[in-house]
């Protein structure tokens, strides 16, 4: 496979390393990264010892001296493997393991057989393994909720991609990544889901550790790994599944489509690109019709998402109602269908803002995927997704299975794989330290045996090693035969070997090796800085850019046994890590006790920071924890501005929960770290709150830095610490007393340049200074300023009260050729509009000023009025034009689906608010219909060189 070596070369070049991988050679991550590529930070002997373990050499050979130097790795446990793995895949795999799974460390056990015998034996073993359970291609529980699209970021972020490379690529991007191979051919969805719940169950050697994903995350991941992308992304989006009609009309809910009349557009729709189809982004509705091809009889579950409203009809019946103005939101429904073709329809409307539409389906017993592939625009067309006939169940041939059981024993499979009922194999091959004669020859291409390049001597497996790997194994064998091998490895060496074989170093750094080496000051021989490897660096991401590398790169393992309590070290290795979930995408996985316990024991012996724990003499315990609480809170050192506390992220970034400190950290390490964080983590954002022992609160605990640091520890160690000051935020309701209260900020519905005014009469407005419009009017409470006045103040704040409506869709006046001409829609700023600010009268009521210099008009809108309360709100509009009289000035009072006249001169808008306009020069109100919406308009006479003023009254 020359192409693989080319690509491996390319991959190696990407990270700036020399290439050397050969085709079909097993990929042992630690060897590829540290023994072959990178800085050769492990020597040939160490590389060889690593291979002797990872390739399972000590599973057949007596270890002898190697026992102290080689970390063994068993193959997967095969008990009931027939339930999990497709027997057809097993047969293919056994015929040539490296072809089916490039980089596999399983040797070619049948290499010494001729082609015919190899084919038969691999079939026989597959039948034998299939006899251990019944394989079914069944879905996993919850498959109908699994969204492959949501599984992609999980694969990319939690750590899968670090070891396996890109999800869709069969070629590793880094030489130490081993691609996943054809998972869909190998696993049933249910089995892969069960495997990922606890890989250690069948793989106690933990080279594939278990990730602490919740059920939803794991299901999304399984769906992303198994479902071809064409069924949920890419190709599905190109599919033409529906005939569509669109109407350029604005609605607040799904209209009666039958009553809409002639559509503005009609034709086939690509994917769900309704915006492209309608040719606009706001103010339209579409009706889609097509034919759903149900592959089988059963209950179909549909999921429909949209922004704004939508409805799904199958066979004329409403299956999902997702109506109303709302952000992108999913709703589901199901329906019993016979196999065959059913009419399907989707109705959708878009009022304003974001626009989305998606439809998924899960066929009976199937997982969730895009519905587009099941739908065609005409009855006769063929759907993209044809139902595959279910493969016949694998029939185990008893004779072949018996033959396979025999072959399983003969070929030594049981040396690596545990399997109930299979004959265990006693170690029979030669002691590794007796193989030193091979050491010299190992390089020779014609060696026949495990190490050779050719099919091995009878019965021996073939590993497909390349020269570098052979050389390393040769060096290791020579070492094992030497007197030096009698000495047990030093602690650091033993740690290094464990971290390398378990591939902890894929994510973590220890002793300058591994991880995505952060950009520390590494200078090369010429004094030039070496920067981190960019390809690897990009594998690690975090949700909070402000956290820098600490919010992205898994923590260093240097001094980890000093930092972490032994109990926590054991716990995090056994259960995985959860403490960094809020601030880092990569997850710490869990490891089997057989490998984790020895490693934890080694790490726990790291030299310990020695520091005396302050007794805090002369202060009662109650005072000490109170002072600790003061220091943690926002009126003290403000630790909670970054750290979470007792599960509450508060105003913070979500950095590690302070109440987890005592469970995680050694008390002494904590004291030393807080005293000088930079000493332990150069470049950390954790500030030195007591720089060089300096105290900023001299009145607290005798003004002693040690006492204060200790008091924080004791406080966070309490079983139920009282929350620190500033953790939670109370609402800050702004209330107008005698004068209006103004709130200029990001207000939902009125934009980022909103000016909110709360009047003493408990009516409120938000004026949009970006678009020059009275954007919102509401009653009752004005606004809660907590969002913007605590923490960093992110996001938009909606009104606090109720009965909210939008009087202006844009500037309230325009110059039009006719009263019923379309209102200018172009952004008023792009038209040269200028916002002039506002003035406040003696009662604090605002007059907003804006102008359109190009149109030579200046407008003032005084809001409040003398009789605030009854009617509730009055707007006095003054329009000025300095150059002559003006024809065509129009005031627009409302835009809505319904505007009805009332007997008292008011108009009722959208069924609930009322408006009228009074003033000399103002014509009678007239309702015009534009783009399906009703608009209440008034023509206004502008006299020569004098402003015109008129009043609008709003009541509701």
């Amino acid at each position: 496979m020359p192409s693989r070596s080319c690509r491996a070369l390319l991959a190696a070049l990407i990270v700036g390393m020399a290439a050397g991988a050969l085709s079909a050679a097993p990929i042992v991550a630690g060897f590829e990264r540290f023994g072959r590529h990178a800085d050769k930070s492990i020597d040939r002997i160490e590389g060889g010892l690593l291979l002797l373990g990872e390739l399972g050499c000590v599973n057949c050979h007596q270890a002898g001296a190697a026992a102290a130097h080689v970390i063994a790795k068993a193959g997967p446990i095969l008990d009931r493997v027939g339930e999990r793995i497709d027997p057809a895949w097993i047969a293919t795999y056994l015929r040539d393991p490296a072809a089916a799974r490039p980089g596999t460390t399983m040797p070619h056990a049948l290499a010494s057989l001729d082609d015919g015998a190899r084919a038969r034996t691999s079939q026989a073993i597959a039948h034998y393994l299939a006899s251990t359970g019944e394989f079914s291609r069944g879905e996993f529980p919850g498959a109908q909720d699994a969204r492959p699209r949501d599984g992609v970021p999980i694969y990319d972020r939690v750590g899968c991609r670090v070891c396996h490379g890109d999800r869709l690529s069969s070629v590793p991007h880094l030489p130490d990544q081993r691609p996943l191979g054809d998972l869909a051919a190998k696993w049933s969805p249910a089995a892969l889901d069960a495997f990922l719940q606890n890989p250690l169950h069948t793989r106690p050697s933990s080279r594939m550790p278990g990730f602490p994903l919740d059920d939803g995350e794991r299901r999304h991941l399984v769906a992303a790994l198994l479902l071809p992308e064409s069924r949920w992304g890419g190709v599905a989006e190109q599919t033409v599944a529906f005939e569509a009609k669109s109407w350029n009309q604005t609605f607040g809910a799904l209209p009666d489509f039958a009553a809409l009349g002639k559509p503005d557009r009609a034709g086939p729709l690509q994917g769900f690109d309704v915006e492209g189809f309608a040719g606009r982004t706001d103010g339209f509705c579409v009706q889609l019709s097509g034919f759903f091809h149900a592959p089988a009889k059963g209950r179909y579950r549909f999921d429909l998402a949209s922004d704004d409203g939508s409805r799904l009809l199958v066979g004329g019946a409403t299956v999902i109602d997702n109506d109303g103005v709302h952000p992108h939101s999913w709703r589901s429904g199901d329906i019993e269908l016979d196999a065959g073709i059913h009419e399907i329809g989707v109705e959708f409307f878009e009022a304003a803002g974001q626009c989305t539409l998606e439809l998924d389906v899960a066929a009976p017993g199937g997982s969730r995927e895009s519905a587009l592939a099941f739908i065609t625009p005409s009855r006769d067309a063929k759907p993209a997704r044809t139902s595959r006939p279910a493969p016949p169940p694998f029939a185990v041939d008893a004779g072949l299975a018996a033959e396979g059981k025999q072959a399983f024993a003969t070929h030594g499979c049981a040396s690596c794989h545990r399997l109930d009922g299979a004959e265990p194999v006693a170690l029979k091959a030669a002691d590794l330290s007796q193989l030193k004669t091979l050491a010299g020859k190992a390089n020779a291409a014609n060696v026949a045996g495990c190490l050779g390049q050719k099919p091995a001597a009878k019965g021996a497996p073939l590993y497909g090693l390349d020269d570098t790997q052979r050389e390393a194994i040769g060096a290791a064998l020579a070492f094992l035969a030497s007197p030096a091998a009698a000495e047990a490895p030093a602690r650091e060496r033993a740690i290094s070997r464990s971290l390398t074989s378990l591939n902890c170093l894929a994510c973590h750094v220890r002793d300058g090796k591994g991880g995505a080496i952060p950009a520390v000051a590494i200078l090369d021989d010429d004094g030039e800085p070496i920067l981190k490897e960019p390809a690897r660096d990009a594998l690690f991401t975090g949700p909070i850019p402000e956290m820098g590398e600490e919010g992205r790169l898994p923590p260093t393992l240097d001094g980890v046994g000093d930092k972490l309590r032994r109990e926590f070290l054991d716990e995090v290795l056994a259960n995985g890590g959860v403490d960094r979930r809020a601030t880092m995408h990569t997850l710490m996985p869990k490891w089997h006790g057989d490998v984790a316990k020895p490693l934890a024991a080694l790490l726990a012996d790291d030299p310990k920071t020695d520091i005396t724990i302050p007794a805090i003499a002369g202060h009662a315990e109650a005072e000490i924890v109170d002072k600790g609480r003061d220091l943690v809170g926002s009126k003290g050192l403000g630790c909670i501005k970054c750290h979470a506390f007792a599960g509450d992220r508060g105003q913070g970034l979500g950095a590690i929960d302070m109440t987890r400190f005592p469970k995680r950290l050694r008390h002494e390490w904590y004291l030393a770290y807080v005293e000088n964080p930079q000493r332990f983590r150069p470049g950390t954002r954790m500030p030195a709150a007591w720089p060089e022992g300096k105290v900023f609160y001299p009145d607290i605990l005798s003004g002693d830095a040690g006492n204060q640091i200790e008091s924080v520890w004791r406080y966070v160690s309490l079983a139920k610490p009282r929350p620190p000051v500033g953790l939670g935020n109370d609402p800050i309701e702004l209330i107008a007393t005698d004068k209006p209260v103004i709130y200029r900020n990001f207000i939902e519905g009125a934009g980022p340049r909103a000016i909110g005014i709360g009047f003493p009469e408990r009516v409120n407005i938000a004026w949009d200074a970006e678009a020059f419009r009275l954007a919102l009017v509401w009653k009752g409470s004005f606004i809660d300023a907590r969002r913007h006045w605590s923490g960093r103040g992110e996001g938009f704040q909606p009104p606090m009260g109720d009965a909210v409506f939008n009087p202006d869709a844009g500037p309230c006046v325009a110059i039009l050729p006719a009263l019923d001409a379309p209102w200018p829609v172009e952004n008023v700023r792009k038209r040269g509009g200028r916002f002039g600010g506002y003035a406040l009268d003696g009662k604090g009521r605002p007059t907003f000023r804006w102008s359109l210099p190009a149109e030579k008009i200046a407008v003032r809108e005084m809001i409040g009025g003398e009789s605030v309360g009854n009617p509730l709100l009055q707007r006095t509009v003054t329009v000025e034009r300095n150059v002559g009289a003006l024809e065509g000035l129009v005031f627009r009072a409302a835009v809505a689906d319904a505007i009805e006249p009332e007997p008292d001169g008011f108009w009722r808008v959208a069924g609930f608010w009322r408006v009228r306009v009074l003033g000399a020069g103002v014509g009678p109100g007239k309702v015009v219909t534009i783009d399906g919406k009703k608009e209440l308009r008034y023509s206004v006479k502008l006299p020569h060189e004098a402003p015109v003023t008129f009043q609008e009254e709003l009541s509701w």
Partner: protein, 510 residues
């Protein structure tokens, strides 16, 4: 000088970085090496020379100070992040009066007074305010300039300056978040002209903390550690130039007067390298070493008090929000490029120090907030006055680059024996990576051997000859061994109040 050679060898070893600890240890040995003259009984503290006085804030003002401006008639205007402006009459007197002049503004981070109008820089605009009916409250809030976008991201702050000599206001606009610019001119400095035009002036801004001028009128602002900013820094703004973060480059299309878009900087490089590649790029005037002197640079002000504020007339002072301190900068221009040194000056402010403003009496008003970003000063907010006590501190007044070292200028004559001893000093150089990632660790660290120290005849200056001066590098100079000579009220044998300065060497004088 065996120590330095060892240090160098350790540093230059390829592969794993092992030298940091070793070097730090060596430096600490050097630091304690000089034989000390007898210390006076009581070590002077910052408070002996500059005292902090709290102003009592009315309980109904939640005064997260965002901006300050001195007004006629002995009044100061104080703007808050919650959108209020208070006017305090006779703020240093026995009974100052507080009046709420305006409320409901959008996070005011700039105040300037001109012709009876108070100009306030809010997030979305510059407005000018006036009380026309004399009730003490502004009733005209007139929009002067709003030629930039706001998307609704909290990061999009706008800091405004005072008026420059031509009557312009300078506005620095924070990016949308740390990395990008979603609406026009985020990540730019703008000028608002007296006739109301808003002119895109300088690109490359990331996350400013304040803007001001040096005493000659050069425009300076602070930018903070993050992408393309290895540490916080004081930077100079000049029309047509680029100051480091390319996140706002797309708006060159809307700013024809700026000419074509500059070359994109290369991530992972050094600023000295990128200066050669990008003609428009102006490096920081002073880089504040992260966490050594501050970690959130903010307000900028120059000392034009002509001595009322002590011996640092003409220098620039910068607040640090996180450390709640005031830092001091001595600046100079070499080959047309500003650079200089920073020194710790005064710590212990009550909240996260942000806004600064000198009063006519020579005291310095400092306003603070720690909302959203923690500070050593624990108050939610603070308004304080820093007053020179009249007692002369023994300080390094200025640090100036020489072709072969630095010249130190002191506030009072040095003891020539200690000042001439090279063991009284320790120096090293280091820098930060110029990169798209957030911040940077310290890199390229190497010691600088001090070859000779020559005090001037009057003892007010010392000329240090030094090895390994590098452009694009921050030179840290510690003077733990230097002692004072007796002079006036100043006793002999005093150590420097602050013995360390950090000089950002952009250009080494020829």
């Amino acid at each position: 000088m065996v120590i330095f050679v060892l240090g160098r060898v350790a540093l230059r070893r390829g592969g794993v970085f092992v030298a940091r600890g070793v070097l730090a240890l060596l430096l600490s040995i050097i630091g304690t090496a000089p034989a000390c003259a007898a210390e006076p009984l009581k070590k002077p503290t910052e408070a002996d020379f500059y005292k902090i006085e709290q102003l009592s804030i009315p309980p109904d003002a939640f005064l997260e100070v965002g901006a300050l401006e001195w007004l006629p008639d002995n009044k100061i205007a104080v703007a808050s992040r919650r959108g209020e402006i208070w006017i305090v009459s006779d703020p240093a007197g026995e009974e100052p009066t507080w009046t709420r002049f305006a409320h409901g503004l959008h996070e005011v981070l700039g105040l300037a007074w001109k012709d009876g109008w108070l100009y306030a820089t809010q997030r979305p605009e510059v407005s000018r305010l006036k009380d026309t009916d004399g009730d003490g409250e502004a009733d005209e809030i007139e929009t002067v300039a709003d030629g930039w976008g706001v998307s609704g991201d909290y990061h999009e702050y706008a800091f405004g300056s005072k008026f420059d000599a031509e009557g312009n206001l300078w506005i620095v606009l924070c990016l949308t978040g740390s990395f990008s610019s979603e609406v026009p001119f985020r990540g730019w400095a703008m000028r608002v002209t007296p006739d109301g035009r808003t002119i895109p002036t300088t690109s490359g801004v990331r996350s400013p903390g304040g803007i001001g001028f040096d005493c000659s009128g050069k425009v300076l602002y602070t930018d903070n550690q993050g992408p393309w900013n290895g540490s916080c820094a004081l930077k100079e703004l000049r029309p047509g130039e680029f100051v480091g973060h390319p996140g706002g480059f797309k708006w060159y299309d809307l700013a024809p007067e700026m000419g074509p878009k500059p070359t994109e900087p290369k991530s992972g490089s050094r600023w000295a390298e990128e200066m050669k590649r990008i003609p428009e790029y102006r490096p920081a005037v002073v880089v504040f070493p992260y966490d050594l002197v501050g970690k959130s640079a903010a307000g900028v002000v120059c000392d034009a008090t002509e001595g009322k504020f002590g011996p640092f007339a003409g220098q620039v002072f910068v607040t640090d929000q996180s450390h709640s301190v005031l830092m001091r900068c001595s600046l100079e221009t070499i080959d047309g490029i500003m650079q200089g040194a920073c020194f710790p000056f005064r710590e212990g402010f009550g909240s996260g120090s942000l806004a600064v403003q000198f009063a006519p009496d020579g005291s310095l008003y400092v306003g603070g907030t720690n909302r959203g970003w923690g500070s050593r000063g624990g108050g939610d907010y603070a308004l304080e006055r820093l007053v020179f006590t009249g007692k002369l501190p023994f300080e390094i007044r200025a640090m100036k680059a020489l072709p072969d070292g630095f010249e130190l200028e002191f506030t009072s004559p040095v003891d020539k024996a200690t000042a001439a001893d090279v063991k009284s000093y320790a120096a090293r150089g280091f820098t930060y990576i110029y990169q798209a990632d957030y911040g940077s660790p310290v890199v390229d660290e190497a010691p600088c051997e001090i070859v000779r120290a020559t005090p001037s005849a009057d003892g007010l200056k010392v000329r240090l000859e030094m090895k390994n001066l590098r452009e694009g590098v921050i030179h840290e100079l510690k003077c733990p061994g230097v002692r004072s000579a007796p002079s006036g009220a100043l006793a002999a044998g005093l150590a420097l109040l602050h013995d360390t300065g950090w000089y950002t060497l952009n250009r080494r004088p020829k």
